[in-house]
């Protein structure tokens, strides 16, 4: 047992990990990201939200006595003794260029922009490596079958980390392909939300929020801080009938 540097209140066991092949001792409760920083690495890429959402910190690692490649987001995955790890902050993948307004909402548009889609051999390496547990190969299959909706639903959780592209036998830039599918689906297949139109109009045509925004911009730091602390928040237990006391800005 030893004290964690800079925080004497926490005592923890140290475990050995291998970061890019070199051995370091790190506290056992640390995430991979914290462990790497503890070991002296400084992230200028490969680190984003630190909340498991943005996908910037995809990490691959192996455990002793196990042939499997393991994956996780460095900010979410806790270290294990003796693991070998490295971060993959970016993986090159070509993105097709297109003018979205000229695309038709048909699968053939995806086929034209990414003909390599048909190089998939169904090896399933993409699904095995996805840190978000997406059925990546099924989504590729869905697109080949012309089923944009299914591909979009399957890849909804994609964080664009690129690990699927790194492992692809057919060299498909999968995360770009799925992004195109989601854009086509969201922009051209799903019905437009009527309430969104009203909200956009309130902002751009009625200038409903301009005055408030302007007054915020004119506040000094002290006033801003107070306004922030005094703001009315929706209670955690609120039902959908809850309304703020200030109703001027509601769209109803």
């Amino acid at each position: 047992m030893s004290n964690v540097k800079g925080n004497p209140a926490i005592t923890t066991k140290m475990v050995p990990v291998f970061i890019m092949g070199k051995r370091y001792e790190v506290p056992e409760s640390f995430t991979i990201m914290k462990a790497m920083e503890y070991a002296g690495f400084k992230f200028i890429r490969g680190c984003g939200c630190r909340g498991g959402i943005c996908g910037a910190c995809a990490t691959v690692y192996r455990k002793p006595g196990d042939y499997k490649i393991h994956v996780g987001l460095a900010c979410q995955t806790v270290v294990e003794p003796e693991i070998y790890l490295a971060q993959i902050p970016f993986y090159p993948a070509n993105r097709a260029s297109y003018r979205f307004e000229e695309l038709k909402p048909i699968p053939e548009e995806v086929f034209k922009l990414y003909p390599e889609l048909f190089r998939c051999v169904a090896c399933n390496a993409c699904t095995k490596i996805c840190p978000m547990n997406i059925e990546v190969m099924d989504a590729v299959s869905a697109l080949k079958q012309g089923n944009i909706k299914k591909a979009v639903e399957l890849t909804f959780d994609c964080i664009q980390c690129g690990l699927c592209a790194s492992r692809c036998f057919g060299e498909l830039p999968k995360y770009h392909i799925f992004q195109l599918a989601r854009r086509i689906y969201g922009g051209k297949i799903l019905p437009k939300a009527e309430h969104l139109k009203a909200a956009a109009q309130a902002i751009t045509k009625e200038n409903r929020y301009d005055k408030t925004l302007k007054s915020l911009m004119q506040m000094n730091e002290e006033e801003l801080r107070r306004a922030y602390l005094e703001r009315e928040m929706e209670p955690v237990t609120a039902t959908e009938d809850w309304r703020p006391s200030e109703k001027r800005f509601l769209l109803e």
Binding site: V121, A122, T127, S141, Q145
Partner: protein, 291 residues
């Protein structure tokens, strides 16, 4: 009754006329073609290189999906998918060493040992339903329609996957007779349509198509009957190019055998999706009073 069914990618995109007509006439026979879940592209061609196991993953994975449904067999419509899946199935059944390699690689799947049967829809019609049942179901006999049954390669070669006699197949002839049409024999019925040569050797593929089509026309066939979207692409999809190359060529429609079944069963012709046929067969069918 329910049958596990593997559609293949083309039946879900370019060849909806093949799939929609098939599910419709099968429903009329009281059989539900139930699409297997989570299927992937079969690979579109069986890999012939002995050590190229990576390209066996796709068809074998599809066979595993069938096994997971606890189904004894899977029905396929597209001739190429049928050929690819059936050969991969035999590989898994007969080659213990490759079976082990493939099962070990796919460690996320259950082991597969070639347990299921891969059958073509034509075999289901002949062996399970029978020509007589089909004849009894006729509402619109396809009288006076002279049709050339075109088999191509994938239903007949190699021998271990053939659904009929390789040299002189009769299964499509028998179907057409059961439907009241007149099958037209022609010597190019089992010749290759040009297959994937259409990609790298366009002239060669065109020549294949020309030999087949002109042979059928010489014997007064009014349309060709097919079971493969790739054959259709080569034989019907390339007819405008053929007309330029051979000015005497006037064109000839092609039909999937499933469209003929739907028509003969008196189903709404919408299920045939004739608008998707490369060469519109509707003028011919109207001239015979079938539409």
């Amino acid at each position: 009754m329910e049958l596990s069914y593997y559609p293949g990618c083309t039946l879900k995109t370019r060849a909806k006329n093949f799939e929609d007509s098939a599910t419709a006439f099968m429903a009329a026979l009281g059989i539900n073609l139930k699409e297997i879940p989570r299927w992937n592209c079969c690979g579109a061609v069986y890999s012939l290189a002995d050590d190229d196991l990576i390209h066996q993953l796709a068809p074998v994975r599809d066979l595993i999906r069938v096994k997971e449904q606890e189904q004894g067999k899977v029905v396929v419509l597209c001739s190429l998918c049928f050929n690819t899946l059936k050969r991969a199935n035999l590989l898994m059944r007969n080659d213990a060493e490759k079976r082990k390699t493939l099962n070990t690689f796919m460690d996320e799947e259950v082991d597969y040992n070639g347990e299921i049967e891969v059958v073509h829809l034509l075999e289901v019609l002949r062996d399970d339903i029978g020509w007589k049942t089909i004849s009894d179901k006729l509402k619109v006999p396809l009288k006076h329609l002279k049709l050339a049954p075109y088999y191509g390669c994938a239903l007949l070669r190699p021998q271990e996957v053939a659904i009929d006699q390789m040299e002189r197949p009769v299964i499509l002839h028998q179907l057409l007779q059961a439907l009241g049409a007149e099958p037209i024999d022609f010597p190019f019925a089992t010749k290759c349509c040009g297959s994937f040569q259409a990609v790298g050797n366009r002239e060669g593929a065109l020549e294949c198509a020309w030999n087949i089509l002109s042979s059928a026309i010489r014997r007064r066939a009014e349309a060709l009957v097919l079971s493969c979207p790739l054959c259709d692409f080569n034989l019907a999809g390339k007819q405008e190019e053929l007309k330029q190359k051979y000015p005497e060529f006037k064109g000839i429609p092609t039909l999937y055998f499933t469209q003929l079944l739907a028509l003969a069963f008196g189903l709404d012709s919408k299920v045939c999706r004739f608008e998707l046929n490369y060469q519109d067969p509707r003028p011919l069918l109207e001239s015979k009073g079938l539409l």
